[in-house]
């Protein structure tokens, strides 16, 4: 139980560090002076001290929505697969619950964008709806097919089963599911081929457009939510698709897990440096590839058993 709670706290603390690490690595690769890894914390404390101003046009949704964006994601953190051997975990929560909770958070984010009645907010919300509608089927298919390979529908149990008995004979369908999930990780977190998290240019914004009107504590909450979302996806990716290191003793297992999270961050940073942002109407192509791979993984598993 202590290991379970400690893992959740660790993930929560790692979340801003991971995003700042991606930013710093990108800056190093572009020959800029990198930001500190703890920049996420600094931004958080700065925003906490700032005055919170709310537009006169908004309804009460703006006051509730930031909390409702963050809370489903915090609930999802309790359902993730375990990091150390013998730790407590929730075994019965399946792909539908996790996808549903993540889309609940996205729903409130979209409401928040619409509520301020600015042109940007509505545009950002409609784009976010467009992207997340395509992400969800692929996400359910992918996690489902991995659960099939692991022999259990619960995501936590699937992570444990995969670490204990790696499906060597299903390597091909495992690989397809991995490719699909990595595309989803990028799409759902608004990283570069889908959305650029760093610009405030109206043509490229998706995530930034929705939170343009927020200040102070509410902005801090939303930024925390987006970093928590990244850490949820990254830890799902590493515990389902790189199931190594669960059998070691507790400190080494945690070190291996953190190293895997940073490896995912490095992969995302390299991808962001090397690709240009896609045009919005090209985004369905990328997500279509992801859906095709998720489906392919499922049928390869069912028909061929490979």
């Amino acid at each position: 139980m202590i290991a379970y709670l400690a893992t959740i706290v660790l993930l929560f603390l790692l979340a801003p560090i991971l995003l700042s690490f991606i930013k710093a690595l990108k800056m190093v690769l572009l020959f800029k002076k990198p930001v500190s890894v703890f920049q996420g914390y600094r931004n958080f404390s700065k925003l906490m001290h700032k005055e919170t101003i709310i537009s006169r046009e908004t309804s009460s949704i703006t006051r509730y929505a930031p909390f409702l964006v963050l809370s489903p994601l915090l609930v999802v953190m309790f359902f993730l697969p375990p990091v150390v051997h013998g730790a407590y975990y929730v075994s019965f929560v399946d792909a539908f619950t996790i996808t549903g909770l993540i889309s609940l958070s996205t729903f409130f984010l979209m409401l928040l964008g619409l509520d301020s009645a600015s042109a940007f907010g509505g545009m950002g919300s409609s784009r976010e709806a467009f992207i997340s509608a395509l992400v969800e089927p692929a996400m359910v298919l992918t996690v489902f097919s991995v659960s099939m390979m692991a022999g259990d529908l619960g995501v936590g149990q699937a992570g444990v089963n995969l670490a204990e008995h790696f499906p060597q004979e299903h390597m091909a369908s495992f690989l397809f599911a991995g490719i699909s999930f990595f595309i989803l990780l990028i799409a759902e977190n608004g990283r570069i081929p889908i959305d650029n998290p760093e610009t405030h240019l109206e043509l490229t914004m998706v995530h930034e457009a929705m939170i343009l009107d927020l200040t102070g504590v509410y902005l801090a909450l939303i930024e925390t939510a987006s970093s928590v979302k990244f850490v949820i996806f990254a830890s799902l990716f590493v515990s389902l698709f790189i199931p190594l290191g669960l059998e070691y003793s507790t400190p080494i297992a945690i070190l291996v897990f953190v190293a895997k999270l940073f490896a995912v961050a490095v992969a995302v940073a390299l991808l962001e440096v090397n690709t240009a942002k896609l045009r919005l109407f090209k985004v369905p192509n990328l997500l279509g590839i992801s859906i095709v791979f998720a489906f392919l993984s499922l049928i390869t598993f069912y028909v061929l058993g490979a």
Binding site: A172, L296, I299
Partner: protein, 197 residues
């Protein structure tokens, strides 16, 4: 490991189907051939077949490095259009590709009963044959059609190494010679294309 490589083989082919740039298409073809070469090396090591090791190395040198390089040079020389948009729209391709895969997986089921070892690989190579056919169908320009033809050859090679547990060396070298002839013919086609323009 062989399952992993065969997965990458199919994955690179599917990604090539969605590509809209010529050089990117050549890159995916090159990766596809690289995976094929590694597969031949792994299967050759498993069967302890020296001839297959040689064909594996020849595949990596000729198909993964040589042919993409030559094709890139040719397309630079003749100033080809580098934007190759598939004629089948993406939203239809998303439905078509899984349909083809399901169809071919079930199609090859009677054959897979006849083969004792690695029966899955036959199904995957037949499906990649159909996918390369789709790559040929969905493009209007000559260059992507040639990539489709070459991927089809890759799929046949995969069928050869997985289903028969090693073809005779002579046959495989004959296929390579065929391929070189095909490249010469392609060169002529490119000339003709340029004369039309």
């Amino acid at each position: 490991m062989i399952d992993f490589l065969i997965g990458l083989f199919l994955a690179t082919l599917i990604t090539a189907l969605f590509t809209t740039r010529l050089y990117r298409l050549l890159w995916w073809y090159s990766l596809n051939s690289l995976m094929l070469g590694f597969l031949a090396l792994f299967i050759g090591r498993e069967l302890d077949d020296k001839a297959m090791l040689i064909t594996g190395i020849a595949t990596i040198i000729i198909k993964a490095i040589g042919i993409p390089f030559v094709l890139k040079n040719l397309s630079q020389k003749f100033h080809f259009v580098r934007q190759v948009i598939p004629r089948i729209k993406v939203q239809y391709a998303i439905m078509l590709i899984p349909a083809i895969l399901v169809f071919t997986f079930y199609l090859s089921e009677p054959i897979t009963h006849m083969i004792k070892s690695n029966s899955n690989y036959v199904a995957i190579s037949i499906s990649s044959l159909f996918l390369s056919l789709l790559l040929m169908i969905e493009h209007k320009n000559v260059a992507p059609k040639i990539i489709g033809f070459l991927s089809m050859e890759n799929a046949l090679f995969l069928l050869g190494i997985t289903a028969t547990e090693g073809m005779p060396m002579l046959v495989e070298l004959g296929i390579f010679f065929d391929l070189l002839m095909a490249i010469v013919v392609i060169n002529l086609l490119f000339h003709k294309e340029e004369m039309k323009v």
